[in-house]
């Protein structure tokens, strides 16, 4: 993706994250930072998936400055019941 118009970076990021078989992530958002680069935000189901996202983005956007804000969603038991 090097050499592309920077105005399309966010769109290409989302497309790569959704369509690369290794990631298949539609819930990660790219937010443009005033200081330059992007913050990638969202939640995934495992540490392995977070690492794969970092790998896929690094391959497709080697020169992109990225701040990683991706968390792994917790899976603890609930302790509340909502009565409806």
């Amino acid at each position: 993706m090097s050499g592309m118009n920077e105005g399309y970076t966010e769109s290409h990021l989302q497309q790569v994250l959704a369509e690369d078989y290794r990631t298949a992530e539609l819930g990660i958002r790219a937010i443009r930072l005033e200081a330059g680069g992007y913050a990638l935000c969202g939640e995934v189901e495992s540490h392995q998936r977070r690492a794969l996202i970092e790998q896929v983005v690094a391959e497709s956007f080697p020169d992109l400055d990225v701040r990683w804000d991706i968390a792994v969603t917790r899976v603890h038991e609930p302790d509340e019941v909502e009565e409806l």
């Binding site: 078989y21 495992s46 969603t73 609930p78 019941v81």
Partner: protein, 244 residues
Amino acid sequence: MSGWPDGSVRVAAIGDVHLDRDVLGRYRPALEHLGGKADVLLLAGDLTRHGTADEARCVAEEFGGLAVPVVAVLGNHDYHSDQVDDFVKILEDAGIVVLECTGTVLDCNGVRFGIAGAKGFGGGFAGACGSEFGEPEMKAFIRHTRRIAESFGAALGALDCDIRVALMHYAPIPETLLGEPPEIYPFLGSYLLGEAVDSAPTDLAVHGHAHAGSERGTTPGGVRVRNVAHPVIKQAYNVYQLSR
């Protein structure tokens, strides 16, 4: 004999678990005591990442053999590999009930608990929704949602039960999408699903799909809606108590 009031049903629900080998076993500790917390577990679609048979086996292993019945709908991710028939059979062989514009009624301590389920689809909401007009692709898009909504509403209305729940993957109202970019609402749900929910005396509507959305909302007809996408509820499942 449950630990909650007679005439009530406790419903556990989770969506968007996106299982694959790397996640296998992660939910099991939290599911171990499910029998003491709920009467049934609902899975609101996007059970896997790519919808492969191997991923379906992960779902069967993770959510099969639990202390309570498990009822699921599929999500868009579960359709990605075009293996839906095999996918559904693997889940059903594990005892998981899979609904698509169909319903089932469970006996929960003498309460007839009805669930109608459908994947649903997009199209948008009041003021920003597509219609069956123009190119064949656009007409097909909205027609797909309309047909699902019509069949889903019929399945919901046909349930002979005391308590009625609507289970979907896509959202029936925009309120539970709050937090998502408004530009993508038409890809996250449709008012047609909301109309289907309101066409029957529904006690609760549950959906997933919108990872950045909000948990709670209400249809124009007054039915409570809960977005149980895993990144929204941030725990293994939520529990809702409904009374006859």
